[in-house]
Symmetry: C2
Subunit: 142 residues, 2 copies
DNA sequence: GTAACTGCAAAATATTTGCATCCTT
DNA sequence: AAGGATGCAAATATTTTGCAGTTAC
């Protein structure tokens, strides 16, 4: 089971100055294998017997802080997280892609190939970050 | 204190088939007077001595259900709500505007004059709803 | 008068914090 | 060896549910 993915996870952790522990590796593996986004509760469902709920909270927070994953805004108080692309670094995220939430399978995907369109705001606003979440039906569920 | 705004609130409630009670009127007044969006906790801070927390939950839910307010997705597990425009009706919301979160004053505004740009998704996706949240610095905080 | 709204109590759920112990570097 | 990560306990916060009393229509 110490596979290529396992190696990938370890490399990613090191690259983001996170110490390599079983918990972090396992949680990161979830993100690597399953391409969709994960909420805290999803992770708890899958690993809750192996790791404490608190550890999952702290791990996700550490991952966000170090630019390994980013959070996706939601309307239902259950933030989902997804892997960042290479151009995210500690401190500043660059999620210039949109997110898609499928109403049928309830998965959330990063559509890396679709950039967030630029918006023109009224005079006086400074734009810092743009988040776009599209909901509908995904390819698999059509 | 029974002012024009009070009348506006009552009219709005009736127009959305919500019965007119003190609690609903007061909460709606908050949305009318303050143009920014409000989270549950904001409302509780302002009216928590007058109304039960549970009533606030239920009132917000009723407002959303009847198309009086809409929720704005967020990254921090604190959903904010804002008044809907006239073209929102019970059951189906039409928030085709973008939302702006100011990092300085932490207010959230609906920019009704800025429509959400259309996005082109890869083949196979059906788009149902588009949410756009822009963060930065607002006019007042520049 | 009836249906709907409200407050209170309580349950269920989610999140944070402190601390002692263990593990990574 | 030292600093950071983890688990456990517990505190805190958030959201939901049931029910009895009250109010709007």
């Amino acid at each position: 089971m110490s596979s290529a993915r396992q190696q990938e996870a370890i490399t990613l952790l090191k690259a983001h100055s996170l110490s390599v522990t079983d918990g972090r590796t396992d949680i990161l593996l979830l993100f690597i294998s399953r391409k969709g986004a994960l909420a805290h509760s999803d992770i708890e469902k899958k690993l809750g017997d192996r790791y404490d709920r608190v550890t999952i909270y702290r791990t996700l927070q550490a991952f966000v802080d170090k630019g390994l994953i980013h959070s996706i805004p939601s309307k239902d108080n259950s933030i989902r997280y997804a892997l960042c692309k290479d151009d995210c670094a500690s401190g500043h995220h660059h999620d210039h892609h949109i997110h898609f939430v499928c109403k049928t399978c309830d998965n959330t995907y990063c559509l890396d190939e679709v950039a967030t369109p630029s918006v023109k705001l009224p005079k006086g606003y400074t734009v810092n970050q743009v988040e776009m979440v599209v909901s509908g039906v995904c390819q698999a569920c059509q």
